[in-house]
C-alpha cells in the first residue's frame, strides 16, 4: 500500500510538470493549429536563465535568502522566455500563418534545434548543478510515503497556475478574444479583435508557463543541461494529445494521467504481465495507453470541442 501511495505521489509530481508544459502546446495548437515543437526548449531556456541569475546573485549578494533568490530568478527567467516566445512567433511563425501546414511545423522543429544549439554554445555541453533553493530533504513520512518540500511546491504551484489560466481564458475579455480567435480568426478580426496581438499573447503566456515549468523541473532534479527540454517537451506533447489537443482542461488531465501511467507502469508492469515485460517498457506502456485512447476517442480524453481541428 505504501508503495502504491508513493507511486501515486511520484506520478503526480511528474504529471504536474507535464501538464504545465502541455498547456503551452495546447494553447498554441488551439489557436493556430500549429504544433510548436520548440516549446520544450523554452523549458530548458527558462531553467538555464534562472540558473545563470542564481549564480550571479550568489556572487553579487551572498547573504540573500533562498526565497528572494528564487523569486528574482523567476522574475528574470519568465520575461526572457516571454520575449523569446514573442520573437519566435513574430519572426518565424507569423510569416507562415497562411502557408501550408507542413511549413510552420518544420520551422518549429528548426526552432527547437536552433534554441538547443544556441544554449549549447552559451552554456556548454556539460551538465550543470542547479541550486535547490526549495529543500529536497524529505519531510516526515506520512503512511510511509516520502514527500519533499519541492514536490509539494511543484504540485501546488502548478495547480494554482492552471486555475489562474482557466480563469483568464473563461472569465476575462482577453480570454474571450482568445477563444474567439481560436474558433475563427477571420471572423474574430471582423468583430474588432486584434488577432495578431492575441496570437502573440498566446505564445507569450505559453512561454511563461514553460519558464516556470523549467525552474520547477531543474529544482526538483538539481540538474540543468542544454538538452534537458527535449524529453519533457515530448512527454508534454503526448499529454496534450492524450487529453485532447487544443483543450486546456484536456492538457492538464492528460499531463496528470501520463505522469501516473508512467509511474504505475514502471512500478507494476512486471506484475501485470507476469514477469513478461519489465521497466524498460515503461515508455512503451505510456504510448500503448495513448494509442488505446486515440483509437476509442480520436480527439483525446476531453477533445470534443476542437474536433474540427484534429
Amino acid at each position: 500500500m505504501e508503495i502504491f501511495l508513493q507511486q501515486l505521489v511520484n506520478g503526480l509530481v511528474v504529471g504536474s510538470v507535464y501538464a504545465l508544459v502541455a498547456l503551452g502546446y495546447t494553447m498554441v495548437y488551439g489557436i493556430l493549429g500549429l504544433i510548436n515543437f520548440a516549446h520544450g526548449d523554452l523549458v530548458m531556456v527558462g531553467a538555464m536563465v534562472a540558473l545563470q541569475t542564481m549564480l550571479f546573485l550568489m556572487g553579487a549578494a551572498p547573504g540573500m535568502s533562498p526565497l528572494t533568490m528564487l523569486t528574482l530568478s523567476l522574475a528574470v527567467a519568465i520575461p526572457v522566455c516571454m520575449m523569446l516566445g514573442y520573437t519566435m512567433e513574430r519572426l518565424a511563425y507569423r510569416r507562415l500563418r497562411n502557408a501550408p501546414r507542413l511549413a510552420p511545423l518544420i520551422t518549429a522543429i528548426g526552432m527547437s534545434f536552433l534554441l538547443q544549439t544556441i544554449a549549447m554554445i552559451l552554456w556548454g555541453r556539460n551538465y550543470h548543478t542547479f541550486p535547490q533553493l526549495v529543500s529536497t530533504a524529505p519531510l516526515q513520512p506520512v503512511a510511509g510515503v516520502f514527500v519533499t518540500p519541492i514536490q509539494v511546491t511543484i504540485v501546488v504551484g502548478s495547480a494554482l497556475i492552471m486555475a489562474a489560466l482557466i480563469v483568464l481564458v473563461t472569465k476575462t475579455r482577453l480570454g474571450r478574444a482568445m477563444r474567439a480567435t481560436a474558433e475563427n480568426h477571420r471572423v474574430a478580426a471582423l468583430m474588432g479583435v486584434d488577432t495578431n496581438l492575441i496570437i502573440a499573447l498566446t505564445f507569450v503566456i505559453g512561454a511563461a508557463l514553460a519558464a516556470v515549468a523549467g525552474v520547477m523541473y531543474a529544482s526538483n532534479y538539481g540538474i540543468a543541461h542544454y538538452g534537458m527540454g527535449f524529453m519533457p517537451g515530448l512527454k508534454a506533447f503526448t499529454a496534450a494529445v492524450l487529453g485532447g489537443i487544443g483543450n486546456l482542461g484536456g492538457a492538464m488531465l492528460g499531463g496528470i494521467v501520463l505522469g501516473l501511467v508512467e509511474s504505475f507502469g514502471a512500478g507494476y508492469i512486471e506484475h501485470m504481465t507476469f514477469g513478461l515485460l519489465n521497466s524498460s517498457y515503461q515508455d512503451i506502456f505510456a504510448f500503448i495507453i495513448l494509442g488505446l485512447v486515440l483509437i476509442f476517442r480520436p480527439t483525446g480524453l476531453l477533445g470534443e470541442r476542437v474536433s474540427d481541428r484534429a
Partner: protein, 370 residues
C-alpha cells in the same frame, strides 16, 4: 600469368624489406570535442614510448628501425572512427594504438581486421570489442566484465551485502556492466532482488526506485553514466532508500561528485578499470618523465597508451619483423613487464589479470581502496 604475379610479389616484398628503416605506428583518439584531453593524453603516452624506443635504437631482423607516430583524431565518433581507421590503414601503419573510446574502437576494429593491422586499445573497456572473433583486437586494460566481477566480489566479501537491486541505462556500456555484475553476484551467493531499466536520457527515476524500495535491498548498483547516476542517487535518498550506491567507471568521475552534491556519502562506491598511477610498478618514474616531456599532467590512460605502444614494438622485436602477419603471433604470446604491470593477453586479446580499482567517496573526492 601466375608466374608473373608471383615474381612481381617477390620484387615488391624485396623492395619493402630493403627500404624498411622507418616503421609507422598509428594512434587514434578524440583530439577535439568534450573528451579531447583524454585523447591527447593517450597520444602523448604513445609518443613517449616511440621516443624511448628510438632513443634506445631498436633493431628488428638485423636492421636499425626508426619508429614514427601517426596521430589521428576520431572525435570519439563511430563514423569518424572508421574513416580515420581507413586512413591509417592506407598510410601503411604497422600497428595501431587505440582507439580511446569503445564507441570508436568497435566500428574501427572491422577496418583493421580487414587490413590485417593489429590494434591495441589503451582504454576501451566494452567487452564486445574482443568478442567479435577478430584476430587483431587487443586491449591492455581490464574490460567491463572484469570491472563488474571486481565490484561483485567487493560487495559480497568486503561489504557483506546480501540483497542487491540493479539498474542499467540500456546502453551497450551500461547493460554490459550491469549484466557482468549480476552474473558474478550469483557466484558469490548474493541475491538480486530487483532488475530495473532506464534510459541514458532520463532524469526521473522515482518510479523504478520506489519499486526497488519495496524489495528492501542493501545496495543499488547502477550501470550507466554520471549524468543519470547523480539525480538517481539524490532521488534514492529523497525516497528514504538507505544503503549503498554502487557504480562503474561512468560514475567514478568528478562530475558525479559535483552533480550529486550532498547525496554523496561514504556509502557510495565505484570501480575504475586500471590502477592508480601511484600503484603502478613504473608509475612514479613515468609521471616524472611525462611531465618533463609534455609540460602537463597525466590525465588518465597515458601509461596504458605507453604500454600498448611498447607491446607492439616488443612483439615486432620478438618476431624479427614489423610486418603484421609476422608479428601478430608474437603479440598474442607476449609476456612483458610494462609500466602498468604485466602485459600478456588471453585467447580473445584481453589482458590477463587487468587491474580494477575500487573507489569510495570520502572527504569530497573518490578515494582508492585496497
Amino acid at each position: 600469368m601466375k608466374k608473373t604475379l608471383l615474381a612481381l610479389a617477390l620484387v615488391g616484398f624485396g623492395c619493402s624489406a630493403l627500404a624498411q628503416t622507418s616503421v609507422k605506428i598509428g594512434h587514434a583518439g578524440p583530439l577535439t570535442g568534450p573528451i579531447s584531453h583524454i585523447g591527447k593524453d593517450g597520444e602523448n603516452g604513445a609518443r613517449l614510448a616511440i621516443d624511448d624506443a628510438n632513443a634506445k635504437g631498436i633493431t628488428i631482423g638485423g636492421r636499425k628501425v626508426q619508429f614514427e607516430l601517426v596521430g589521428e583524431d576520431d572525435q570519439a565518433d563511430p563514423r569518424v572512427a572508421t574513416t580515420v581507421a581507413q586512413r591509417l590503414a592506407d598510410t601503411g601503419v604497422k600497428g595501431v594504438v587505440g582507439h580511446v573510446t569503445s564507441g570508436a574502437s568497435i566500428p574501427a576494429s572491422r577496418i583493421y581486421e580487414q587490413a590485417g593491422i593489429p590494434m591495441v586499445t589503451p582504454s576501451s573497456t566494452n567487452p564486445k570489442l574482443t568478442q567479435q572473433g577478430y584476430e587483431v583486437t587487443f586491449r591492455v586494460i581490464a574490460n567491463d566484465l572484469q570491472q563488474g566481477a571486481a565490484m561483485a566480489r567487493h560487495a559480497a566479501q568486503s561489504l557483506q551485502i546480501g540483497k542487491v537491486a540493479i539498474i542499467d541505462d540500456r546502453t551497450a556500456y551500461g547493460q554490459g556492466l550491469a549484466d557482468a555484475f549480476a552474473d558474478s553476484l550469483k557466484q558469490h551467493g548474493v541475491q538480486v532482488v530487483g532488475r530495473e531499466f532506464t534510459t541514458d536520457k532520463a532524469t526521473d527515476f522515482t518510479a523504478i526506485l520506489t519499486k526497488i524500495k519495496g524489495r528492501q535491498p542493501d545496495a543499488v548498483f547502477f550501470g550507466g553514466m554520471d549524468a543519470q547516476a547523480a539525480p538517481m542517487l539524490r532521488q534514492m535518498r529523497q525516497l528514504g532508500i538507505g544503503g549503498r550506491f554502487l557504480g562503474g567507471d561512468g560514475v567514478c568521475t568528478s562530475e558525479m561528485i559535483k552533480l550529486a552534491g550532498e547525496a554523496m556519502s561514504a556509502e557510495t562506491y565505484c570501480t575504475q578499470a586500471g590502477i592508480p598511477m601511484a600503484k603502478m610498478p613504473g608509475g612514479a618514474q613515468f609521471n616524472e618523465r611525462f611531465k618533463e616531456r609534455f609540460k602537463t599532467d597525466v590525465q588518465l590512460y597515458a601509461p596504458y597508451s605507453y604500454d600498448a605502444t611498447m607491446a607492439l614494438i616488443e612483439a615486432m622485436k620478438t618476431a624479427s619483423s614489423a610486418e603484421p602477419e609476422k608479428y601478430l603471433p608474437a603479440l598474442r604470446k607476449l609476456d612483458m613487464q610494462g609500466i602498468t604491470g604485466t602485459i600478456a593477453f588471453d585467447r580473445n586479446g584481453d589482458i590477463r589479470d587487468g587491474g580494477v580499482t575500487m573507489y569510495r567517496f570520502s572527504d569530497g573526492k573518490w578515494e582508492a581502496l585496497n
